[in-house]
């Protein structure tokens, strides 16, 4: 399935959407297609909104953000997000805030179809005071109070992975983030990969499979689909892009011009990569560091 069809069929106005990936494997290709298809009133959830949600918010796709750390890592603020929160531009954005552990726990509960998840956290913190969804429960054994967060069950989760077979059995190596929990928690799952591989490639190393194909609704092959994020073994993080985003996004018209050029101005990820140019692709392409195989025989 191509990205246009996957987004068109599985992402709807008003959905709660999770595109996860902690620094690694953040699916910008899906976000850009969502922007092009002008989805509206999304509730966006992610530990680190990162540039990907900054762009979705600036493009007017979102009405609410659920998050735990909102910044451009190592660089500064997310200006698009701040304009929405502080000035209501292009539209107001409601915030629901956790810590990383809290949001990981929300997705874990969602994946396990439990209504809540317990964690030892938040005592001595103001976070529960500003988020009434952080509550507590009494342990039936020790009688101590533990914090709780409610399950988060997205309507759609997009997982970017290095590779999958055509049924969506997806393999990830390097940082896992909360991709597995986000996928199992969702009603609909879109898997986007650097390569579609024959099923025997997956079956030759089953311990690398993170997402089983039978929970996947669409499989999209989108090389370089995570840029400016990265895919271990495929391409490096484009740190210069992250640093440069600060200047691009500082004013609304700068960010808008960027969207016009790099999102609305291209029809697909393939065009985006072509526009990125050979130099960037060459600079970021991964050098080989191939691991050894292991024996699955008996």
């Amino acid at each position: 399935m191509d990205m246009r069809e996957a987004i068109s069929r599985f992402v709807r106005d008003g959905d709660t959407l999770v595109i996860e990936g902690f620094t690694h494997l953040i699916c910008f290709a899906a976000a850009h297609e969502i922007i092009r298809q002008q989805r509206r009133d999304l509730t966006l959830a992610r530990l680190t909104p990162d540039l990907i949600y900054d762009q979705l918010i600036a493009a007017g796709c979102a009405k609410k953000l659920i998050f735990s750390w909102a910044g451009n890592p190592g660089v500064g603020s997310l200006h698009g997000m701040r304009r929405a929160v502080e000035q209501g531009e292009p539209q107001p954005l409601a915030l629901e805030e956790y810590s990383h552990f809290g949001l990981v726990a929300r997705l874990s509960a969602g994946a396990a179809k439990l209504p809540f998840w317990p964690l030892r956290d938040y005592r001595g913190s103001d976070l529960p005071a500003v988020n009434p969804l952080i509550r507590s429960v009494e342990c039936p054994y020790t009688k101590e109070q533990l914090a709780t967060v409610p399950a988060l069950n997205p309507d759609v989760t997009v997982v970017h992975a290095q590779r999958a077979d055509s049924n969506g059995n997806a393999q990830i190596w390097g940082l896992y983030g909360v991709q597995k929990e986000a996928a199992f928690a969702a009603s609909r799952v879109i898997v986007v990969v650097e390569e579609i591989v024959p099923e025997p490639v997956i079956r030759a190393d089953p311990n690398r499979t993170l997402i089983p194909g039978f929970i996947v609704d669409a499989v999209v092959c989108e090389p370089w689909g995570a840029h400016p994020s990265y895919a271990q073994g495929y391409y490096d993080r484009d740190n210069a892009f992250y640093v440069g985003w600060d200047a691009v996004s500082r004013e609304a018209n700068g960010l808008e011009a960027w969207l016009n050029e790099w999102v609305y101005g291209v029809g697909s990820r393939a065009e985006y990569v072509e526009k990125l140019g050979e130099d960037v692709v060459a600079r970021l392409s991964a050098k080989p560091r191939i691991s050894e195989g292991v024996n699955y025989g008996f």
């Binding site: 902690f22 620094t23 690694h24 530990l47 680190t48 998050f67 735990s68 750390w69 909102a70 910044g71 890592p73 190592g74 603020s77 701040r82 929160v85 502080e86 805030e97 956790y98 810590s99 990383h100 552990f101 990981v104 726990a105 874990s108 964690l119 030892r120 956290d121 938040y122 005592r123 001595g124 913190s125 103001d126 976070l127 500003v130 101590e144 190596w173 390097g174 940082l175 896992y176 983030g177 909360v178 597995k180 929990e181 990265y230 271990q232 490096d236 993080r237 740190n239 992250y242 640093v243 991964a286 560091r289």
Partner: protein, 244 residues
């Protein structure tokens, strides 16, 4: 500050590392007195040996040649809440008299003067790590008597003490600043000045925090960075001067 923070680490410590100065401090410690430091990043890299200074906490260089990769659910549940972490590094826009940290908002939450990134993993690091090293330059604005927002619990505060709150970790045990080191007093957990760097007048430090700062009776001497430490930092660990 990186040198001073590095010296707070013991060989074999399991350290939950943030990006920036803490990362630099850990790599300096590994290169000098603590070769068996185990670096763990909230992104999931365990036993990382980055061959370049990572810009982000999830840099691919943290994975290549690491000892292991864990899901974030495991990192927070089994490593951090599971009390396997000796040292956590934290910063914060505000550090108050009891070591409470604010990385959420300056001003009221609903109408902030400055919106900061938020907790990330800071709250749970402050709750669970056996000890927490805070790295922050000293100034009256960033060291108020009480933080505007309690993101991460210190030794005591409006909610109670660590003991009354049953917090499992040790909380902030050392606050490494640009002029000296603060540490909680044994009696009441209030931060006091326990060390100043060479050439710094302890009395001058007092005026730089928002509460009447006590000076410890046993002010520790802090030797200046050695030539080896400086060379390592400037030429090897941060050759592009990202953080120095």
């Amino acid at each position: 500050m990186a040198v001073r923070a590095a010296r707070e680490l013991s060989d074999g410590d399991v350290v939950f590392v943030g990006i920036g100065l803490p990362n630099l401090a850990c790599n300096l410690a590994r290169a000098t007195h603590a070769p068996n430091l185990v670096l763990i990043y909230e992104s999931g890299a365990v036993g990382a040996v980055p061959d370049r200074l990572p810009v982000s906490i999830g840099d691919p260089a943290l994975v290549t040649d690491s000892l292991g990769v864990a899901s974030m659910a495991d990192i927070f549940q089994f490593y951090l809440q599971g009390r396997r972490i000796d040292v956590g590094f934290l910063g914060g826009a505000q550090v108050d008299r009891y070591g409470n940290l604010n990385s959420t908002v300056i001003g009221p939450y609903s109408k902030p003067k400055v919106r900061l990134p938020g907790s990330g993993g800071a709250c749970e690091i402050a709750v669970h790590a056996a000890r927490v090293i805070v790295v922050a330059p000293l100034s009256p604005r960033s060291f108020p008597a009480e933080v505007d927002f309690y993101t991460s619990p210190g030794q005591a505060g409006k909610f109670g003490t660590r003991a009354t709150l049953s917090l499992p970790g040790g909380g902030p045990t050392r606050i490494v600043t640009d002029v000296g080191i603060l540490a909680p007093s044994v009696e009441d957990g209030e931060l006091e000045l326990v060390a100043v760097y060479p050439g710094i007048d302890p009395q001058a430090v007092v005026g730089k925090v928002g509460w009447p700062l006590r000076i410890s009776g046993t002010l520790e001497p802090v030797p200046p960075p050695s030539a080896e430490e400086l060379t390592l930092l400037r030429d090897v660990l941060d050759p592009e001067h990202l953080y120095l």
